[in-house]
Symmetry: C2
Subunit: 121 residues, 2 copies
């Protein structure tokens, strides 16, 4: 059955949660069997909400801010560019692609970025 | 076996070929069994080089220019934003995601955009 989700609102909620929430809060935005690859090409895909929470744990100690730079919808998928500033010292500007289930949970996330997209502030 | 391809050069070649080549030229950049979804969420996936050439045939009659706006590498994948101007009358700014094989051929392309990303000039 086709379904409609407001992917732009879901992406904004994700970026807000990355900035202000805990790793558990961010992991709760993912479906139980979601996959996460960040960076794409890095050779590691995190599978399942528990592994995804572990991935975000590194962010728990850091002061983070996020900014949506551009957004493209694609049905229940989306691609977007954003900036993330870590500890006021480093800014990364990835492009991410996400897919969402009918409940608005993230079923897959892929983050495209490399050292070329990292700026020391 | 892992492999390395210069995805930024391949993306630039693709955008140049879309602007100046024929549908056959663009299709030749794809692998025999490649898939193309444009726009993502549109409900149609074109499978195979012949179907992909048919998809690009609509562009054969149009005056096109393309401009790479931002590029993110991800191993043998890439995500990028670009502008495409059609007949000097319409500009679309999609985000595309591509995967490449070891020969540098495109094995999958997904284009994320909607009416919100179309400007009449």
């Amino acid at each position: 059955m086709p379904y409609v989700v407001d992917t732009e609102a879901l992406v904004k909620r994700y970026l807000d949660t990355v900035a202000t929430g805990t790793s558990a809060d961010v992991a709760a935005l993912y479906s139980e069997d979601a996959t996460l690859e960040d960076p794409v090409g890095g050779g590691e895909v995190h599978i399942g909400r528990q592994a995804i929470q572990r991935f975000y744990t590194a962010l728990d100690a850091a002061e983070l801010s996020t900014e949506l730079l551009s957004f493209r919808s694609g049905g229940h998928e989306a691609a977007f560019a954003f900036g993330i500033t870590v500890g006021g010292a480093m800014r990364i500007e990835p492009i991410e692609v996400m897919t969402f289930d009918r409940d608005g949970l993230i079923t897959s996330m892929k983050a495209y970025w490399s050292q070329a997209d990292v700026t020391m502030l």
